[in-house]
Subunit: 154 residues, 2 copies
């Protein structure tokens, strides 16, 4: 087996850990977990309310995890949840004014941390890396070619 250091998941984990160490203190200042912040940022990035299923995709969280996080953020007055008019099974989620205000307060510090990363690693280089990560995701999104041994198994 290839070396542990050459493991792609491990390399991605370590890189992410290094990056998150710059952002985690900002979230802690506002009593937000990493996942809660992901939800708030995803909501801040869209203009219109989006449903829970779309949030699942954008935040890379499981449905049950997201459900509980939404309850939490709702209780804190940071988000609104309304039933969609055109399909009453769907829940539309959006930031409240309070939620937007919170994101706005964290944003400049987040931007500063990002700037530090660009300075340390290189702005263009970081941009290229993001492109490669996106390409990797696309390449892996295509399901693996089934091995003959399991093909046709019921």
């Amino acid at each position: 087996m290839r070396g542990f250091d050459q493991s792609l998941p491990m390399a991605l984990l370590k890189a992410r850990e290094a990056a998150m160490s710059r952002f985690r203190p900002l979230m802690a200042d506002h009593d937000l977990t990493e996942q809660q912040w992901r939800v708030l940022r995803a909501l801040a990035a869209v203009d219109d309310p989006i449903d829970v299923g779309e949030l699942v995709d954008r935040t890379v969280l499981l449905g049950p995890s997201l459900s509980r996080i939404l309850v939490n953020l709702d209780h804190r007055g940071l988000i609104d949840r309304t039933v969609a008019a055109h399909d009453q099974r769907r829940t539309l989620v959006s930031l409240t004014a309070l939620g937007e205000s919170l994101v706005s307060r964290v944003a400049p510090h987040s931007e500063e941390a990002y700037h530090q990363i660009e300075t340390a690693y290189g702005t263009d280089r970081l941009h290229r890396l993001l492109g490669e990560l996106s390409a990797l995701e696309t390449a892996l999104a295509t399901p693996p070619s089934p091995t003959r041994s399991t093909e046709g198994t019921p």
Copy 2:
């Protein structure tokens, strides 16, 4: 704030999630969590027993998490733990024959998944990406330059 899609932590998370989806089934087949497998792989990658502190660094796990994982793997007969002769505070960890055998059984499937990733994304390209991730980690390992506003705070 920059777009959610251009967030480095998010891009690393999604890429990792895409990669892990190829490996996770292999671990599930042997009732191993992702973290337990990280420990076994880290141990398989070294020739001599290593202490817990070194394992913490190599696996990117917290001490208490690792401690409990080691208890679990010990009970399953996959690892040995012995007190270091030169410093009795240290615990040296190594794979048992059973542990090595388990890693050996998983390895070929892991290698196959890796090969699929290389095929989908490109072998050289993947190699370059690993280099960039390592460089990013190094760049971020240097602590951020302190901002003037917090400098000198007791």
